[in-house]
Amino acid sequence: MSALNEDTTHSSVSLITPEPLIKRFPFPFHEDSYRYSNNSRQLESGLCLEVTPEYEEEVEEKRALLKENHMKCYQSFSHTIEAQWEVLDMIIHELAEVYPDYFSIEKQGDQWTFSNHLLKEQYSFTFGAENTLPAEPLDFIGRHVQEDLVIVSQRDQDLYMDAGQVCFPANWSLVFDVGMTFTEWHSPVPVFSDKLAAKVRDFLMRMEAGKPWTRYNWTLTVEHVLPTFAEDFDLWAPKKDKVTKENIGELVHLRVEDQRLFRLPKSNSILFSIHSHLISLKELAENQVWLEHFRNIIDDLPEYIAEYKGFSEYKPLLSEWLTDTLQKQVEQGGNV
């Protein structure tokens, strides 16, 4: 268990291409209408993680949150330890394979040395021996990626949220949900909970290793705030009151969750990863195709979805701003 400040030969952060957000944002809509559905698609890349230019900033924020209130961001049942090692194994190998300049792994049997060259950290541990890591395996490896990670166990014909490291939840609570079944933790979602959740659960229970799935979820967040815990509702929700016609473009952010689902063959559990991306409406508007899709989505959105996502208060304002901004772009000849 060591975190050496090693001088590695790799130069690091500069290698992440600082492409503007608008060029790489995972815009989730291809249609002009949005309803709850099983919008899962096969994940062709087979990859769980993405390292973006925000890596250092976000990993630092995660670690600070974990330090400040550990149980709010980390929950686990002891029977998930094997699945946790499986997740650690999968993530370390993916990082080292896909980003060899940023991460590496050296193995002598069960003696592993994992290096994070971006953060200039190195850890040696015995695979499978919990006391050789500074934290539980899921808690440890989650501190090296931007994604939130949830382990969902499949037992006796149901799915349970059995462990998670979640620092950037979109208005939900890990502490509240841990130990619940799939339909239980989805019960606040209107329409989805009674029409779709059981079907989606059955679909997930049939998921196979080697055939991972992915889906986008989205919502709106006022200001660039990643940690919107249900527990801290009083801190971030009142910000909605500040939204005006003048500042909405800067204040309101489209929040997209890139979610990926993997069957873990050794534990027969499911790994659910969430990479949350935020972009201000103003920046989003730089892509006129996206702006138009988003305007149409908002204008077509049923009230129950806006209400659940928490922006029905400023939805008229939003709709007006989107239409005006689009109108202006069209008049100016647009930037299509």
């Binding site: 990859l47 049939r206 290793a209 055939k211 027969n268």
Partner: protein, 318 residues
């Protein structure tokens, strides 16, 4: 990162009995194989006599030993080619492409005790389960029927590793395995059956009558159950605007795949639910073990790998 399939090397082939061979599959040099959970199987594809044969085999070895899978394959007299291909053609040193381990026969998490009933080659999934449970110190018993000690696959491995839990029933010595063994078990016992359809049916029916809750009864079938004669039917595909004919010998899934339709599937014996499709119109002749009786009544769905049509026509939203 997960790739679509796995490359393995046939490392060793051994005769378990006169008609069962075990195949030890290992990773290629320097590569790793994914682990597997107890109850898992892999899907294999071999080309034999000009046919592509897809078969599923349970992994008959200790899940805590990494980078190897052992398959126990019986050369079946009624072989549709798969097991014959494995016995005749596969040699040590061959490279094979296989699926990731999949588990349609998982151990119960909440069981207090696991009671296994195997007949013949049906033993294979219980081997992985027993290694796992023994390591965890969880209570189990195995009842295992075979023709004789000599014709009992994995007899030595089982007596060596699980001497206190295994009970054998050889027809050569007139010992019969009765379902009544399920009587007088502690509350929280889960029962598992693997073997020919007739045996699984008999034991499952007994378990139910003995008061085991449905969720405590687990079984795995190797071939689709015999549901009586299959009649031909027609299917209209609404999205692809096609009409297809399914003859007696084919399954609906076969025909869909042949038509180039990207239909999902996995077990092909009506046990996993992967191939489930919505039915727009028509009456389904349900032949699967996956949907509950209630679901068969209430849902407009079909598992095309085994189920057929009661009406002359079906309409699918494909």
């Amino acid at each position: 990162m997960q790739t679509k399939s796995l490359q393995v090397l046939v490392n060793r082939i051994e005769d378990e009995t006169t008609n069962v061979k075990s195949f030890t599959l290992k990773s290629l040099k320097g590569e790793r194989l994914p682990g597997f959970s107890p109850g898992s199987h892999i899907t294999t594809n071999i080309h034999y006599k000009g046919e592509k044969l897809e078969r599923h085999y349970s992994i008959a070895c200790d899940p805590s030993v990494s980078n190897q899978y052992v398959l126990g394959i019986r050369k079946s007299e009624t072989s549709r080619g798969g097991s014959e291909g494995w016995h005749q053609m596969i040699k040590e040193g061959d490279l094979l492409e296989i699926s990731y381990p999949k588990n349609h026969f998982p151990l119960s998490f909440r069981a207090r005790k696991h009671l296994f009933f195997a007949a013949g080659i049906g033993i294979t999934p219980f081997i992985e389960m027993m290694f796992y449970l023994k390591k965890k110190g969880i209570d189990f018993d195995l009842h295992y029927a075979a023709k004789s000690k000599e014709l009992c696959p994995f007899y030595q491995l089982i007596t060596e590793n699980f001497p206190d839990q295994s009970h054998f029933y050889f027809s050569s010595s007139n010992r019969k395995m009765f379902p009544q063994l399920m009587k007088d078990q502690p509350i929280g016992t889960h029962v598992y059956f693997c073997g020919p359809e007739s045996m699984v049916k008999q034991f499952a029916a007994y378990a139910q009558s003995a008061g085991y809750p449905q969720g405590n009864i687990h079984f795995e079938l190797f071939s689709p159950p015999d549901m009586g004669p299959a009649s031909p039917f027609n299917v209209k595909l609404l999205k692809s605007k096609k009409e297809i004919h399914v003859c007696e010998k084919d399954t609906l899934l076969d025909v869909l795949l042949r038509e180039g339709i990207d239909a999902p599937y996995s077990c092909k014996v009506g046990g996993c639910g992967s191939c489930l499709l919505e039915v727009a119109d028509g009456i389904v002749d349900h032949r699967d073990q996956f949907l509950t009786e209630k679901e068969k009544e209430n849902l407009q769905v079909i598992l095309p790998c085994v189920s057929r049509a009661k009406s002359a026509n079906l309409m699918l939203d494909l």
